[in-house]
Symmetry: D2
């Protein structure tokens, strides 16, 4: 249906739900943890989602670096919301697994997780996220996630984890 | 120095720092994010660390399931603190990468991440964490992490991410 | 149906196919690559599979260490065959993804990948494999895999990758 | 020294060894397993390596699809050789760990693993590989790897696994 992304170009994905944007934003807004840490959707299109998170003292490893778990949380959610734009109207979504590589300390005023669908599927969708720290206006990539998402069709799908 | 754990038996690890327990607890206590979500060390021994986290409404995916990022955060930290018990006195520690598999919804009154060193090394240490949800007193394994930790020797080690 | 394994104990799994052993061995024997490198099933039970591979000069990284890809191949297959013992009669199986940590050089006369189902599921099954090198009769764990397998029901399942 | 790659652009990497190409090709040629399956370097530049592998009947899962372990082997090696172009003259390299997602069946006349350094480091380097199947001249992405490589300095580095 939709092609996989390839290096240097972002594939165009066809949403199966005319109300994809409303649905994806609702999924995000239901996540109390995203609200609690102060994350917001900075950009959203079929197959992509950028999440932004301002630095906060209570999200840290120590004084100055954001906790790896916080960074992973926005990376995971950016993959999940990016994938959710391709859901059919009745379906839900959950994270199956992910791997995250920390490349540089999470130091900055704010952080951006850019989630992208790599390969959409009927049941499983592969997504990736590149996380950047913004310090004095300069973006540095600080981590990379490769994740597997699962689509759940029909009744009850929306009550599953991640849906 | 210390052998790798094998299936069904936990290897005994020799701390290189007589004050390993004090150091590991300090590393944990410096993590503002662990304090903020309400995690605490439930058990600590050379090469192992159990973290406990009570359920809270503001840590959720939706109403009832804990956010995957929160679960991953305690799994990562349980691996890091378990590994930190084997640090030499001057060394710091950071997470290089991890993979986490979600096996069941994170539903329960509280959650336990049992971190264990699988293979200690001079520079890199491999650790794993099994995460359990406790509901009505019954433990269910809900996820599994396999992680790589890095030891940083000497000056400045303690200011690195995760140290 | 079947419980998840927990640390130190192997859960008992109930095969859904009375002819599980025949089916799992057939899946293994159809894999020309396993035959080509000289791997064989050393042990098989519901939810577990041990594969054994003798050292060979043409499977190496350089002179003396087995190539990481060869080790990963037997680890992946041990997870797949372990999981295949829990297939229903008509179903096939494929690997969705895996992560492998190299812990020590792959040096030895032979290598054993011990695959175990961690969490069986209707669609997705989580498995792990611990890989050991045997040198002068002594086993050393050299790597660990955490993998996601997918069950494919019905027609055509057996022609899918990995089935 | 060298910046991280970002989505859609490949960073330029500065080799630390004037004889980087000779060294990287030698590392590849020492790998008997690559020779045995018939893989060859199709392209090589600082920070990148494309490996090509023609289809062969004895590398299969079953009749028509290449074994996941074979695909993973060329993906891992493409990451390792891409990273090796950035080694200093005396250093060696080994794979620490990788994660591989299978996105589509490995069906085709030949396969290309495009390894790229994502983030070079003094000790650890993060690389990724996108694997494509070529069928009737059409490339399809069939998998994606995210990997951690380690540089080993000084004496003995070249005898380590992967060096």
């Amino acid at each position: 249906m939709a092609g996989a992304s390839s290096r240097g170009s972002i594939a165009r994905f066809e949403p199966r739900n005319p109300a994809w944007e409303k649905k994806s934003r609702e999924i995000f807004e239901r996540q109390s943890f995203m609200r609690m840490i102060g994350a917001r959707i900075a950009a959203l299109s079929p197959g992509t989602c950028d999440l932004e998170l301002p630095y906060r003292d209570d999200l840290c490893q120590q004084n100055v670096f954001l906790h790896g778990g916080v960074i992973t949380s926005i990376a995971d959610t950016s993959c999940g919301i990016a994938s959710s734009t391709l859901l059919s109207p009745d379906a839900g979504i959950l994270s199956v697994e992910f791997k995250y590589n920390m490349m540089a300390p999470a130091a900055g005023e704010r952080f951006i997780a850019r989630g992208r669908v790599v390969r959409p599927g009927r049941t499983l969708t592969i997504a990736e996220s590149a996380v950047f720290a913004v310090k004095d206006g300069v973006e540095t990539e600080i981590g990379r996630m490769l994740a597997t998402m699962m689509f759940l069709e029909g009744k009850g799908a929306m009550t599953a984890q991640g849906a």
